[in-house]
Amino acid sequence: MSARQWGRDLGMGMRFAFAGGREGWIRALLTAVGVGLGVALLLLTTALPGALAERHRREEARLDYTFGEPVEHRADNTLVIARTDTGFGDRDVRGRLVEAEGAKAPLPPGLREFPAAGDMVVSPALRELLDSEGGTLLRERLPYDIVGTIGEQGLIGSQELAYYAGGKDLAERVGNAAAERIDSFGNPDPTEEKTDPVLVLLVLVVFVVLLMPVAVFIAAAVRFGGERRDRRLAALRLVGSDGGMTRRIAAGEALGGALLGLVFGTGFFLAGRELAASFEVFDVSVFPSYLNPSPLLALLVAVAVPAAAVLVTLFALRGVVIEPLGVVRTARPARRRLWWRLLLPLAGIVMLAPMLGQGRENGEFNGYLVTGGVICLLVGVTALLPWVVETVVARLGSGSVSWQLAVRRLQLSSGAAARMVNGIAVAVAGAIALQMLFAGVEGDYTTDTGLDVSRAQMQVRVPDGTELAAATAKLEGTKGVRKVRALSEGYLGDRPWRKNPERSAELTIGDCAALREVARFPSCEDGDVFSLRGGEYDTDTPSLSRPGQKLYLEQGTVDGKAEDVVWTLPKTLKEAESVEDPTGTKRGGFLMTPGAVPADVAKSVRGELYLSVDDSVPYAREYVRNAAAAIDPLAAPMTWSATERTDRFDAIRTGLFVGATAVLVLIGASLLVSQLEQLRERRKLLSALVAFGTRRRTLSLSVLWQTAIPIGLGLLLASVVGVSLGAVLLKMTATPVGVDWPSVLRMTGMGAGVVLVVTLLSLPPLVRMMRPDGLRTE
């Protein structure tokens, strides 16, 4: 068989794909849209690693820490920068105050010039927020004039809220944790993000789980309009083409659709890329320029998709003999056999088995085995499902007319039904496994913050030297604040700090009510000093608790030239029992009431305000943040939560949610398309049934059953395979196996929801097709 002959036949098929009038066009278009959506998702997937790397690169490039030795002296090339991060609602706002100290001061990425004091440069998203109705409260907090926009280089996502404002006299604050002097931005040693094996495993599985249904979907898409195509092929046989030619022509048709699909896919991807910029999911947004598929992977997609289309078509035609007078499906297809269908999932388990119990300590998982194993298990679903559907449907008795119509139809063509739901079954099985894996390892990646959110819900850290009483009063007067507990904190050594003290202890200053948050004591009045007992990691307090003992307060500034602040312990020293403070730690050292505090000590301690907030007041937290900013822009308000996850984990989970949603929508669309095609082929029959008085409800119900039965079976099988795969994966990560039933239910529910939506959407066309017009022969 010459290559030219092949080319000629394929070419003829491609012409058929687009010729053939309106019907032909619609079919080619459907195939192309299906393949196109798949290609777009594939391209997105290939672009994702690059996008994450680019985000990481930009994040590193704008880091403003002093790495290694601090820059101590003001110079021509130094900049003082203060962190003024805040939050608005549940979104984070990255804020910086900058003050250049010389002409060569480093400019932050994305800025063309430094904003003058009182001006600010904002990200596009922040500008939009500030201009909007909802941004009024934030506007109050940022009393700067907007003079420019931060360029893309200075942002990690299109929806990031960020600003750089010009500061004044920031140099005085250097040494406070909030302000630093730097001579360059960025990490001098850019890091590769170090990922742990379990995370890599998760990412790998997420990708496979998302791509498998897409593959199944593409396979289904190239078979759109199969019956009509078969008739056309038969006509070709009649005019003299041989079996091989017919097959190649059929493959050519699929190829035509797939090639158009590639074009569509590129279009969808580019459109989606632009669209992606306007979305923010779980605090992650991207710039279109992030999403550049690697050329090699893109080329692979461009070759693999059309090739797959051809192979699938040839595979689908294997049991079909196209005769000149019609299509003969090899008699009644032999009863589906179970054994080889079971081989696939078994092979998957065999591939994964060697890694059972490996956990995170024993190095990387073998990526090929993981991918192969997961693919085998998921493909196993598509192999098992037709058998399950056939076996179960053959045993279904008949009930109502709608049930009978549906069951009989399924009995006659259970393969087609199974094919329709394969995609959803695979997606759900994969998602269930992933959910289990996530739920299982979630504990490992979620750290308990130890914060006691029942006692305080917000904390405001004010810079050293802030007048604490005034700050407390201001916050207490703020709308939505129930109670403020002000505690100043310092650190004491037994010698001046430049002489390296040997013993040290914490110092906490507050009124009696505030001190009761950290310790238990029988009595308290202003002027009292307490020595704490029972503090964690506290060894020195008892030995330092001698009346007359001189203690030296640690100084915030780094230059070491500040005068010593010395405090002599008073004669009467009361004892107090340390209790867990709102941050969840038991502190040690000394407690002072305001009356006992020497003036120089008061200036050098850092104030912490613990706030109890009435969340029933709308925007209570925003008022607090605004009040804090009014006290000092460098004051750092924090909202407490009981736990926090590592960000890396969040990103993966986000990816899964976004991907699973996209895949289900995609599959839903394909379900709808094939459903409609099926209905169109039965138009005449539907009209005849309506003519002799069949209720529309009966027909609608039968359409629902017809989808619901295979979907139900598919979801059941998906749950079994998904839970098994999840269990295997958990075993691999050495995590106790537990089935996360709510998420199993949620995933199957999502699958079922898709079916319901598809059925609902296909009802209006169904009703239209049931009109008697279908009886007209013209």
Binding site: Q411, A688, A691, F692, G693, P772, D773, L775
Partner: protein
């Protein structure tokens, strides 16, 4: 041609008008049939004879005009009422595309009874009886795709008769059959209908099929002509 309802008429239509987009399918057509009567509706293709049948059967609503069935005005009925009427009082035979390919023949015949709520066993028993009368009881367990055209059409006739309808609407019932099979189907259909005192509205363009009728009306350009009254 507006005329009063003829005495004893089961189904009467007067002055029907129906427009599909730019085409006028019916333009003042009338019709009347008595119980037990077989009336052929003839006319060239595109003349509106199928549309007339669809209107008479309550499948489509005419744009204007009236249809009286057994003293009731069909055009005034809701869709559900007309569906119920078709289920219980009417039977249908079409040229093709009417048997549900997934159901066995006996299930197909039983379908109208099942739609009316008859239990499956009982419905299939009645269906079997009718299939015997139409000489197709040997294909009861087969699917429509596995039987010949003549057998399939007889199955369709059995289905039309199974509810003991008062009017049977047959639209080119022999259109896809050879003469021998076509005649057999017509013989069985008209005999069964006459013995049940059911009326048959028979749309056909074939004279030999129309010869099984008692009289014919001709539809031309959307207007009907009752030949009995003219001659």
């Amino acid at each position: 041609m507006t005329a009063p309802v003829p005495p004893g008429s089961l189904l009467t239509a007067r002055d029907l008008r129906k427009v599909y987009g730019p085409t006028t399918a019916l333009d003042g057509a009338g019709f009347s049939i008595h119980p037990g009567e077989v009336v052929a509706v003839m006319g060239p293709s595109g003349s509106g004879k199928s549309t007339l049948l669809h209107c008479l059967a309550g499948i489509v609503t005419p744009d204007s005009g009236s249809i009286t069935y057994d003293g009731r005005e069909v055009t005034a009925m809701s869709d559900a009422e007309r569906s119920a009427l078709r289920r219980s009082e009417f039977g249908f035979v079409f040229q093709f595309g009417q048997l549900v390919p997934e159901l066995t023949c006996v299930e197909n015949v039983a379908l109208p009874l099942r739609l009316n709520g008859t239990p499956r066993k009982e419905a299939e028993r009645a269906a079997s009886t009718w299939m015997e009368r139409l000489e197709v009881d040997d294909v009861r367990k087969k699917r429509p795709g596995e039987v010949s055209g003549g057998q399939g059409q007889r199955v369709a006739v059995a289905r039309a008769l199974v509810t003991n309808p008062r009017v049977i609407f047959a639209d080119e019932p022999t259109g896809a059959l050879d003469s021998l099979n076509g005649e057999r189907v017509m013989e069985l259909l008209t005999e069964a209908a006459r013995s049940a005192n059911a009326a048959v509205v028979l749309v056909t363009h074939e004279a030999r099929v129309a010869a099984y009728s008692d009289r014919e009306i001709v539809v031309r350009d959307g207007r009907s002509r009752d030949m009995e009254r003219v001659v």
